[in-house]
Structure formats: C-alpha cells, structure tokens
Amino acid sequence: MKRTLVRLIGSTFCWLTAAYAFLCASAFTYQEMIRPQMLGAGVFARWHAALYWPWLAVMVFELREPLRGARTPRALARAFVLAWTIVGIVIAIRPPLPSLGVDARSVLVGLIALAPLLWLAAIDHAIASDVLTRPAPPVDAARRAAIEGRWLVAAMASAGFISLLYGGLTPLFMRGQFEPDLLTLGLMTGMVWNASEHAVVFCGACLAVAVVGRAVSRARPLVQYAAIGALLTGTLVLVVQRMVCDTLGLDGWRSAVVAVSCALAIVGTWGGLRLRSRFAAGATPETPVGIFFATPSEGGRVSWRQVVRLVAIVAAAWTVAVASRALDWDFLLLRTGGLVLWFVVFDRLLGVMPRIPLSDGWLAAGCLAPLALHASAQPIERLAPIALHDPQFSVRRVLDRYLIYNPSFRLVDGALRTSVQSRQTGQPAFRRFLRQNTGLGAVNVAPVNIDFAAPLVQVPRPPNLFLFVIDSLRPDFLAPYNPAVTFTPNLAAFAADSLVFRNAFTLYGGTGLSLPSIWMGAVGVHKQYVQPFAPMNALEKLLNANKYKRVMSVDVIMEQLLRPSEPPTPLDRGIRTMDYRMCRTLEEMEAVVGRSLQDEDEVRPVFGYSLPQDLHVSNIMNASVPAGESYPGFQAPYAARVHAIDRCFGTFVDFLKRRRLYEDSVIVVTSDHGEMLGEEGRWGHAYYLFPQILQVPLLIHLPAAAARGSDPDLDAMTFLTDITPTIYAALGYRTRTGDSLMGVPLIGPDRADARVRRSSDYVAAASYSAVYAAIRRNGRRVYIIDAMKREEYAYDRTLTGAWVSIPITDGFRTVAQRLIREHVDETRRVYRLPREN
C-alpha cells in the first residue's frame, strides 16, 4: 500500500508532464487550453523544471530497495537514477515545456515523460521475476472450468452491481429535471438496457480473457502473463484512442503513439506492482489473471474490509458523476472514472467470488442472453411502439435521455451503439474525408486575397467602430431575443435603436476559427492559421486604409493574426486571455477613447475591440451568483455574468452618448459561438456542435446615414462572416463577393438577398475537431456529424424557438452529407488545396 502511494505520487508528475506535452501536440488543445493557460497549464510549465528534482527524490526513495538488491534490479535502478539525473540537468538548463508547440517534438517529450514509468515497471518485473519463472501449480480441466466460472460469475455480478449502482443513482441525478420520457416505463427501459449492455461488455471481456488464457495454458507462466498483459494493453490502446485521443483531437500517428505509450505505461505499472505484491506474499497465482486481479479470499469468507471497499465504490461513483458536472472535458473525466470503476468493481468482486463449476449450458446461456438482447436492439426499437400501443414511444429517444443521468450507461452505450447502428454505404469513407480535411496544421496553405472593395480607398469621415465579441454569449440570455429575460435592460435599450438579427449563426463552433472568420468576413480553410494572414484579413485592411486608431485587447488568437500598420493601443495588457472581463476592458477603453478626444491632434476614428471571457465555460464552472440576485429559469451563474456585462455595456454606451459619439458610431455586439449549458448533460463548446453552440446574438448599431434605407430581413439567416462586409457597407463601400465562402453585407445596396438566404443551405464546423453541421431551412433544421466519435444528430427548431431532436433517415443523411461534402470541396478549391483526384 505504501509503495502504491509513493508510486502514485511519482507517477502523477510523469502523467502530468506527458499530458501537457500531448495536449501541446494537438492543435485543438494547444489553442484551447495551452495558449490560454487554462487549468494551471502555464504554472505547471513554468514550475516543471523546479518540480523535477523533488520528483526524482521521491523516485530514488522508491528505489531504495532495488538499489541495494539483486544484480539485475540494482543495475536497472542505478541506470534509472543516472539517466534521470542527466535529464534533470538538461531540463534545468533548457526547460522543455514552455517551448512546446503543435509538432512531433511534443509527442516525443510526452513519450520521454512516460519512460520512467516503463522503467520502474521493468525494475518491478526484475525484482519479482521469480513469480513468473517458478512453475505454476498444475490446473486440471475441472479446476480451470471452475476458475473460468468464477470469472464469468464475477463479470456478471460486476455488470449487475454497476447497473444497480448507477440505476439507483439515476433518479437522484434527475432531481428537479422535467423528463417526460423518463417516467416509470422510461426508467425501466433504461434499466433493462443498462443491465444488458453492461453484461455484454463484461461477458465479452471475460470470454476474451478465458480464450487467451486457454490458448497459452500450456506455456510457461511468463508467456501466459505476457499474453494477458498484451490483451489488456490492446484493450487499453483502443480505450485511450477512442476516449482520450478522439476527445483531444489527436488523430493519425499521433493518436496511435499516444494510445500505445499510455496503455503500456498503465499495464506495465499495474502488472509490476501486482507482481511485487504477489512476490512479497510468496504467492503463486493459478493463472496469470490472478496477477492482475484479486485472488479469492481464504475460505471464501467476505471480510468487513471488502464490504467497506464496495461501499467506497458507491461513494466514488457518486463523486465522479458530481465532479464531472462541475468540470469535465467532453465527458472525459466521467468516462475515465467510469472505466476505472468497472475494473475496480470486477477486481473487488473477483476477490470475494468462490470458484464456481459452471456447466457448459449455463456458460452459454449466461453469455448469449445479453448478446441476443443487444443484437436485437433494432427490432425491439421498431416493435416497442406497437407492443405498447404508443406510436410516439421511441426506445432510442428514451435511452438518449437516460444516458444523460446515468454516466456508466453513457460509457457503455457509446462503446456499443455503433455495432447496432444502421450504416449507409460510404459512412466510414465520409468520416475519413472529414477528418482528412480538418485541422490542416501540417498542410502548407498559401493565403488568398480577400477583398470586399477594390481599390480600397479611404472614405471621408469614417465612423468610430466598436466590435464586442463576447465569448460564448447565447442569444436566449438577452432580452432582445428572449422576452423572458429581464436582466439585460441596457442591451434591450441598445437593441431598440440597432438592428437585431434574430437568426444569426456562427460557422465555427469555437473561438479558434470563428474569430478569424469574423475578421476575414469569410469561411477559411480548417487550419490554425494560414500565414501570413494579412492578405485574408479584410477587416484589418479596412482599418489600415482608413487610419483607424486601434484600441483593443490583443488576445492569444489575434496576436497571431494581426499585422497592423501601426501598433494598437492595447487593453488588458499583461492579463491572460481567459481573464479578460468586459467591465474592466470597457473601463480601460473608455479612458483611452476619452484621452483621444482630449488630444486635439487626434482626429482619427477609433476602432475598439475586445473578446471578453466572462462567459467562457472555464470561468462559468466555478462562478457564483452575487447575493440578492436570482435568475429563475436560467443557468444562474451564467445569467449573473450576462447581467454584469449588460450593466457595464450600459455604462459604456452612456459614455459614448455623453461624448456625442454614440449616434455616429458603428457598434457590433455579438459572440464567437454559443454554449452548452447543461443541455443533455453537455457543457462548453469546443469539441462539438449543437444548435445552442451555432446560434449567436448579432446586434448592429449604425450611424443614421448608414442605417437609412437598409431595411434588412432580420429573420433571414445571417452569419458572423457577414459582419466585416456589413462594416464595409456602413462606411459606404460598394462591396463585391468573390465566392460562396465570403460573407455578404447585411445593409446597403449590395446587401444579402433575403430570399436566397432563407432558401440556401450552409455548413458549419467545430474549430478543433472533425464535427460538421448542415444548417437548412432558414436555420430551422440542423444535421450534425461527429467524425471523431462516429455520432450524428439532427434537430428542428419549433415555433417557440426550442430545439427538438428528430430522427435521421437515410435520405436526410444523404442530402445533409452531400452539402457538407460540397462545402469542404469548395473550401479546398478556393484555397487551392490539391484534391484526391
């Protein structure tokens, strides 16, 4: 136990280092987590070199026994100390973490970080090699059958225990939620599916172990151990690839390397520690499974300690589910925690399970029953409405709601659903196509010129421009979009003399690509970022041509995109992007603009810009509601922050009015994307697309001259890519549109044809992952395909504005996927990328 604890402390440092490096290797997590220094990533990178030495001291302490022990472990331990001391000196001279980027070096650093774990595992195996070399006790056919019976019964008991555990917790997690699909029938359906799918997973795993065990039963114990170790490693490779790499946006060889190295480190550490404990106890397990998992207790008695451990599992299940609701990354914590619990439950139950001589008939029945239920899922789903005399009943809909409140079922359903889903021809090819055209970090892309006006000459008396892109702001939390909102009176007043585009969408579900698309006024290639960006930066061209004085927060994305003709007056200087706050930024902006007006030499127009992060999921998770405020019907911490933003925005507008700047300014209030606020258990935005992420607010205040005669169709679809051409139009430019990827002005003589907008189809993408959406029927219908997780969704917007999930038929899928395919092809054509033929 003490050894495990020391090893845990030492391993944590290795895993954190590896995780940091692997996060750097993915363009998605690099932009989303590392650059903005989320979750203390920056602090860890800065302190890594200093933390290294305490870690090495812990490791040397852990190695005190082998350093004095037999020859082979001693040599390995000495080499370990020597090698990692040298590495420590290198790290002290040149700390590697702060300079990591999206390249192969990050993967290499991650691998090196895991190397000590493998090295320690090798030392453990060398110390306890006796367990694997001494002859194992003979196992006759009857005894082997009994051992296998024990595994199977333990597997079934684990499935039952986990199903009951999470099934029991589900109503607790549902407290306070309105779930018409999860009444008695719905919950029972969920429970049956839950138990059956868990049984499939546990039985399948048990059978694999039994078959591999039999295949090598006559080999030496070392070979048997290696075979089971390889099986576990292979399983973990798949798990890490599907659960971790897909979530973090790691694809291709990076994904394979990360998955294999992580799996080897886990199984090596696990096997090594268990082997040493068996060695210390002088025990020789009957089968190699007995090394990795618990052996039966003496005399089959169940001790109090074992009971306490099972109770602790219940507490852990609850804790993981609650913690995941507070902070998770695409259910990564939830799924990883669930998987660890599966192993722990199986291990604990195997420890209390006696050998059971299971007959062939019972074995076959026990294994085939859950499989048969799983394989008949589709016919059952079809027949259920008929059998229940309820044509509206949908098993799938019930299960989709049930998994929101049952974390373990979410895990098992995600793993098994693809094996029963109807597959159209070409689906794997389509997903491959999307993955190949997403995150083109390593592909050389030359910039194209994006010009809305040519020649771009300075206009007389350009207005002041203010562009507020409030990260993650949802329209349904603003009074101009939702009459139930009472906490944004200033934005409501602003909307009264502005254009409120009621059907606005982002074409990127994440800041990384959404922000560039706003500045370009166009859809770009899926790459962070094409450099030099300046030829594509249509908004910056306009600012340069009209000699705008830039007063702006230069966030982690804009610092990569801007090449201004003169340095901007920076706001939020020295503050991390994630800490940008609307109120503080506006106070600064007010001061700078006020000073500019006092300076008689400064007759230049002002461009104010900021990307406040008040509402970003990482800031919302720990946010609280100020005393005395309440927001019934809304996600309260989020609403409280929207309220604060509204107050500060009102103060800023008052300032503009006092200085007689308001009437003659173009003021745009929007967001880069929406946000999931717990819908279907999902939070955030980065790694997926849903209607709540695609919809954004778009309010544009125009000087009277620009607003005159505009008369735009406020209910037709508009996009963030329309903002820049609209600013061009507000300044009086006649705009031109080169291709279908470019935005269109929403005002003026060249404004978007509302009829075309209402009847056309558009495609959006997640910024960091191969997730695409086809937006149809004037924004009332959305089809989403997640090529990483192999999932698809479709939603319709009702007349009340609520989004409801709708079934996806083959015809629907064909049309939507064609739109996405054509969009990706068009993007490749415009950016002159080679095609497959």
């Binding site: 056919a141 039999r214 799983h374 689906q427 794997p428 090819a429 389509f430 219908r781 479709a794």
Partner: protein, 143 residues
Amino acid sequence: VRRAALLVALLGAYVAVGLRPVAGEFLSRGEFDPFLPAVRALEFRVEEARFEEALPLAQDLARVFPAEPEVALMLARVHHGLRDAASEASAWETYATLSSTPAEACPALPEAYARAGQADAARDAHARCAAFDGRDELARSAR
C-alpha cells in the same frame, strides 16, 4: 476440448456482432458510394463548371446506378450547366421519383420546365412541389 470450443464459439459470436458494421460495409461493396472515384470525378467537374466533360461521366453513372437519386441529381446539375432545360427537368423528375426527399428537386424542377418553355409542366411541377412538402420525409419528421 468441448469447453474450449464453446468459449471460442461464444467469443466468436461477440466478435461477429461487434464487427457487423464492418461486415455490412464489405457486403455492400458495389453499391453506390459518393466516394467512388467516378462520382468524385463527376463532382469536381461540376464544381469547376466543366459540364461538357461531366456529361459522359454522369451518363455512365446513371447507367450503372439507375435507381440512385444522387446520380439523377448530379445529372440534373450537369444539364443545368449545359443549359439543356428539358433534360434537366427529366433528371429532376427521376430524382423526385427515386428519392425519399423529393422536395430537394424544388424549385429546380418547375424552373427547368419553365426554361424549357413547357408552361403546363412547370405549373404542374409547382403544384407537385407544394404537395411534396407533405410527403417529404424531411418535412414529415419535423412534425
């Protein structure tokens, strides 16, 4: 031996169910797939407005996959590019017949008839388009 065979058979059953989609993909080879090289070649030519080159490709595909609505749609687009309104209308009719989403042929279908100078057919197509929405699965699923 019997127990070993049983275990292998049971594991085989699990693997077979798990690999069913892969098997389905394999068995469906020869069916229409939008990523067939011939289909992609056709799409690229249409996208680049090389309609003369696209026509024989589309006609070949229509011969091989006579019941595939996506091919009919591509053929309609090619005829549209070649300003052959009558052939375009005919291809859209095929699409509307074969597809479970016939409303996708609208309003291109009546417009093609109108350009071909077939006013009655255009009027009829407009009426059918209005009705399509009722039996179009996309529209139906929204209700």
